[in-house]
């Protein structure tokens, strides 16, 4: 940048004259302007605000090439749009199946399954702790029979299916494979993702079952199994979304997610698999929040940091191993119960940031989510929002259209710097597992969440319709709310009873016993054992119980 000095000179002059005079007349709204990540925002960015050694080829390069700052594919959305994938699933498998078919008819291009909490925690619907929870936040799956119903009439060799499942992810993947095979579809053609990211469960989402170490082994088993057997499947979606939703900053979201990812990669490599054999199938999941430029910069920084980690730390050779491919969801926590239609606008802005940030797939939230489960109407508006961005806004016609914005490039650099600071600190603690066991990560997130709460409570942070522009006559009662069917549990319990009468119980017992023995040997991959138990109609709860006995249960440290 040959004119760097000149620009700095003129900028200094501008700041001390035009700018200063104006500020004297009309003071600025805030002192200083800050991002939640702790980065101060200058009034104006110029090419001279970039680092002196800033190099286009080093920091940005070209789409589809290292360090992938501008995008992971050479054509990005000029070839194909991102996958529009709305998270759905509630009640019984029958109901969810209908919602899936509806969404596919509306032009959705991938399925995303939400499971109820008993399923996510490895309890059958007839377990005592399942009272009140069966079919509530997603579909209840007790055995492969429910999975058959869930995907009835859906061509598993054509769709890609994403499953939000973590602690028992191996079991749900096994069910998907068995369903496909029983329909005559080869597991080699299956496409989709299991979330399978246990580390963020300990710090943010809470659906852990086993302690970290046996959980890491289960994850390594699924990653290694998929690399050999289900090559088009993403065996993990390393998720910052829930970390962000539990109150972290954008920098923490990226730092802790990549910290988790490093831990997974380390674990699989230690088990003896070459990094390039599995790394290309690692996928990520982030949130898109309100601060438009910060979010875009965050996605770009994440791609660059990950590429460097894979290349420099793990010695990956295959460029695909260095690509950070990610799903994005708009930030549910930013949606307000007050004036819910405003949420459509929030979601649109967040979705736009995700698209400009180069996401591979996107879920847009429904505007009534702060009130209850979304209705068909609100889900449709959310999907239409994506379609408008794709087909009408024109942002998808160029690759990384915002690249080269002085502000966004500077922000990308600063976020990257702060992410490295966290990663270095975590490494000094011995990695993510010790950092979580000691409660460090949880404390950082909890502190950020409380700061955010206080900023809103004190009015320092404006939330339109909540602490400013409040509608005093607003009636929060006028919205139609979808309510999950209260009889789902009864139905599931009945199905379970029938299943246990019908199946070959002796065979189930034997296969569960085989699984127990395999679990006791750390070096045995559990996937084949789980698949056989699932095929014999062992239930999710039965399989998880065997693992609970061998692995024990996790108890969290006390963090406020």
């Amino acid at each position: 940048m040959e004119d760097r000095k000149k620009i700095l000179q003129v900028k200094e002059d501008w700041l001390s004259t035009d700018y200063a005079k104006f500020v004297a007349k009309v003071p600025e709204r805030k002192h200083p302007f800050m991002l939640d990540s702790g980065i101060e925002i200058n009034p104006l960015y110029t090419p001279a605000d970039l680092d002196e050694d800033w190099s286009y080829l080093e920091r940005l390069g070209f789409p589809g090439r290292y360090p992938f700052t501008r995008g992971v594919y050479p054509t990005m959305y000029r070839g194909r749009f991102w996958t529009m994938r709305q998270y759905a699933g509630f009640g019984t498998a029958e109901e969810s199946n209908q919602r899936f078919k509806y969404l596919l008819e509306q032009g959705q291009t991938g399925l995303s399954v939400a499971f109820d909490l008993p399923t996510q925690l490895g309890y059958d619907s007839d377990h005592d702790l399942a009272v009140g929870e069966v079919g509530k936040v997603g579909v209840a799956i007790d055995s492969v029979e429910d999975m058959h119903v869930l995907f009835d009439g859906i061509p598993l060799d054509k769709v890609s299916t994403s499953m939000t499942i973590n602690a028992p992810a191996a079991i749900l993947l096994a069910m998907y494979i068995v369903v496909a095979e029983e329909k005559g579809i080869d597991r080699k053609v299956l496409r989709g993702t299991i979330q399978n990211d246990i580390l963020k469960e300990y710090v943010a989402r809470g659906t852990y079952i086993f302690p970290p170490r046996p959980s890491m082994r289960l994850i390594a088993d699924t990653i290694m199994f998929c690399a050999e057997e289900v090559p088009k499947w993403n065996p993990i979606s390393i998720s910052g979304y829930h970390i962000r939703e539990s109150g972290s900053t954008a920098v923490q979201e990226i730092a802790f997610t990549l910290g988790d990812a490093i831990e997974y990669v380390k674990t699989v490599i230690e088990k003896g698999m070459d990094v390039d054999k599995f790394a290309a199938r690692l996928s990520f999941f982030f949130a898109s929040h309100n601060n438009f430029f910060e979010e875009i910069a965050k996605f770009r920084a994440a791609r660059r940091v990950w590429a460097k980690i894979m290349k420099e730390k793990f010695g990956a050779q295959n460029p695909k191993s260095m690509m950070l491919r990610f799903h994005t969801q708009t930030a549910g926590s930013t949606l307000t119960a007050q004036q819910p239609l405003n949420n459509i606008v929030r979601v649109a802005i967040q979705a736009l940031a995700a698209v400009i940030g180069g996401t591979q797939s996107l879920h847009t939230n429904s505007y009534d989510e702060a009130l209850s489960l979304p209705t068909e109407e609100s889900v449709t508006v959310a999907l239409r929002t994506q379609q408008i961005i794709a087909y009408e806004s024109g942002v998808a016609d160029v690759i990384d259209g915002i690249g080269g914005s002085y502000y966004v490039e500077k922000l990308t650099d600063e976020i990257e710097k702060k992410v490295w600071e966290y990663l270095d600190k975590i490494e000094k603690m011995g990695g993510m597992v010790p950092a979580i066991e000691e409660g460090y990560i949880q404390q950082e997130i909890t502190d950020a969440a409380y700061q955010y709460y206080k900023a809103v409570a004190d009015g320092e942070k404006v939330v339109v319709g909540v602490n400013k522009f409040v509608d005093p006559n607003e009636d929060l009662t006028k919205f139609h709310l979808h309510r999950a069917d209260p009889t789902v549990r009864e139905k599931q319990v009945k199905k379970l009873k029938e299943l246990r009468e019908k199946r070959d119980n002796q065979k189930v017992r034997k296969l569960l016993d085989d699984l127990r023995k395999a679990a006791e040997d750390e070096n045995t991959n559990l996937m084949p054992y789980i698949i056989e138990a699932v095929r014999a109609r062992a239930t999710l709860g039965e399989i998880t119980d065997v693992l609970r006995e061998v692995f024990g249960e996790y108890r969290p440290p006390v963090i406020f």
């Binding site: 909490l117 469960e201 307000t336 119960a337 969440a449 409380y450 409570a457 929060l476």
Partner: protein, 137 residues
């Protein structure tokens, strides 16, 4: 020690693992000068109730974001009654649609703080009902 310190239990009955709201609430209540006991996630109604009894709290604040509130919250009230402590206030918070408010109140929940409310509303309610009662004595 003479001034009355309000003791509040923040409880998470049900399987919901999202505890940001509960933790933010616990901190906000602490900053309002209350002694706050937190149960952690994944509690049964009996666990929440026995905790409330042992800690001799004035108020139990329940939080659940999964929609299990209609089944689970009234069970906490029942468990408190079983233990002879249904005099303890029970407040409901979380994603609770308006049409559930009366249903919960009929089942013994003293107040519902659904979407659009925050810790400040709960703090004010507790100050009025617990400390106000004290002034009236």
């Amino acid at each position: 020690m003479a001034d009355r310190v309000v003791r509040v239990l923040v409880g998470k009955p049900g399987l919901d693992g999202h505890d940001r709201a509960a933790k933010v609430m616990a901190r906000a209540l602490r900053d309002a000068g209350f002694e706050v006991i937190y149960t952690g996630i994944r509690q049964t109604p009996a666990q929440v109730a026995q905790t409330a009894v042992q800690e001799d709290v004035d108020v139990v604040v329940l939080n659940n974001l999964t929609g299990a509130h209609l089944e689970v919250f009234p069970l906490v009230v029942e468990e408190l009654k079983k233990r002879g402590r249904d005099d303890i206030y029970v407040l409901a918070t979380g994603v609770i649609p308006f049409e559930d408010v009366e249903l919960l109140k009929e089942k013994g929940i003293d107040e519902v703080f659904g979407p659009g409310t925050g810790p400040i509303h709960i703090i004010n309610w507790i100050k009025e009902h617990v400390l106000g009662e004290k002034q009236g004595e």
